[in-house]
Symmetry: C2
Subunit: 288 residues, 2 copies
């Protein structure tokens, strides 16, 4: 429910099983610029089409994926968009045609639909293997998780490019475009002492997401990593309310202590008036 374990634990979960879709179609569209790809994603969603997934990769990620898994992404593509449509056959067929038309209008130089399960798996292999594939082109990477309004995707991607140049580190982009959920991969070499620089760049990318009206995290949560950034997104009064809410469910401070909210131990000075975590006050949180 988004509380990252701070409001309690689930002791019982009832699942609603949904029927498997009658048909699944996986489409690939290749573009000569990331801007065109971003426009296509916006246009697909604006057209009222509701794909099960819209995934986007940039040149750096495509190259890494090709080297590692040979999914056969078109040569010369600056961006590849994967669209998965599922549902009733008649509807999926209509949507496939509409997605192709929209992608062509936005500048795609190749659009194709996987013809069988093997081709479908291969198209996805490149996307799903993009993270491990980075090992082919960089000794280390730092993955960021931000989210922005879909209409702001092209602008934020341009800003990430600028930041990459400023900091002198490559950034690969592979992400859930349909949700506006970015996963910039900051490539660096720890052996060359670039770790701190990578972290600083990743933080500026997050700031760019916030500036664009986005949020600190798209899906992976705040945890410890982003706790100190919470005051960038929320006011002191917001944070005080979060703290009281947490105490309401967890008066003894035993549910995932030290996570999500900034604490003096993690962040140095933190804005009042919310209190230090009780376990931190007595030094127990040191163990976590």
């Amino acid at each position: 429910v988004g509380s990252e374990g701070t409001l309690g634990i689930a002791t019982e979960i009832t699942l609603r099983i949904v029927r498997s879709p009658e048909t699944v179609a996986t489409q690939l569209a290749a573009f000569r610029s990331i801007d065109e790809a971003g426009e296509a994603v916006s246009a697909i969603v604006s057209a009222g089409i509701l794909p099960a997934a819209i995934e986007m990769m940039d040149r750096l990620t495509i190259d890494a994926a090709e080297q590692a898994f040979h999914p056969g992404y078109p040569e010369g593509a600056e961006s590849v968009v994967l669209v998965e449509l599922d549902g009733v056959a008649v509807q999926v067929e209509e949507d496939v045609t509409a997605v192709e038309r929209i992608c062509r209008v936005c500048g795609a130089f190749e659009v194709r639909v996987a013809q069988d399960e093997a081709e479908r798996a291969l198209l996805w292999l490149g996307r799903k293997g993009a993270f491990p594939a980075m090992g082919r082109i960089s000794p280390d990477y730092y993955v960021q998780d931000g989210v922005v309004p879909r209409t702001k995707l092209p602008a934020v991607l341009r800003r990430i490019d600028e930041l990459s140049v400023e900091h002198g580190l490559r950034v690969g982009n592979v992400f859930h475009a349909g949700d506006g959920n970015l996963h910039p991969l900051v490539l660096y070499d720890a052996a060359k002492g670039e770790a701190e620089r990578a972290k600083a760049l990743a933080e500026e990318i997050l700031a760019a997401c916030l500036d664009a009206g986005g949020a600190l995290t798209g899906e992976h949560g705040v945890g410890v990593d982003k706790a100190c950034s919470m005051p960038k997104m929320f006011s002191e009064r917001d944070l005080a309310t979060f703290e009281r809410l947490r105490r309401a469910f967890d008066p003894d401070g035993i549910a995932n202590p030290g996570k999500v909210l900034p604490t003096p131990r993690l962040c140095g000075e933190v804005p009042g008036p919310y209190r230090m975590h009780p376990l931190e006050r007595i030094g127990v949180a040191e163990r976590f």
Copy 2:
């Protein structure tokens, strides 16, 4: 969101507009016993049919509605069930047939579908006018709002009958059967000093709902009327958690004070350890 105004106020609301259904069909089924009607409701829902509404009335309510509005409910009916189906025409047609079959199997002696908008309005007039129609048969009534698992409907209705006889007051039943949401109308005459007796009977009906695995309120909320009954459904620890949650959002005690949770002023002795409302402590809540 069910907080009855205790967690704050809405300053902006975004609505998702759903399309009007292609077809609406209103069906009436008449039964010679309330038990048969209850079984029919259970069977309709078990069959996977999802009506927009399933409403049920007992003899007393039917008589009052007939006197006031002449909706033409079948003579000799101990219970009338109204089923409203909406959606795609093909589906509604199928469901209308299925509902008729189920009602006949459960003992309905008459089932009909409204043939036009005027007949549909007339069928609903009796149900929607049931409350004011009570004025035809009783000077006063006290309406209760409980909810029980649908499968317990027949048993709880029998229990309400017994309680009615014990307390010497008539009870009319008109309710959202599809949700298991009961609205027993306890008929009394305040001029004859029956008000306290009516309240006591209504409270026993609520206790019967809780015994059947139901809840204190189906849709109208706790407010002041049921605040003192909260300890019947929730433990001291539950109530303490509710109190802390409320304070998290409303530390100054300004959001609908004195409602929902039991307070000494309303209920006399209340189980600890949750605290008295701050405005009550300083006597301000007297004004509410």
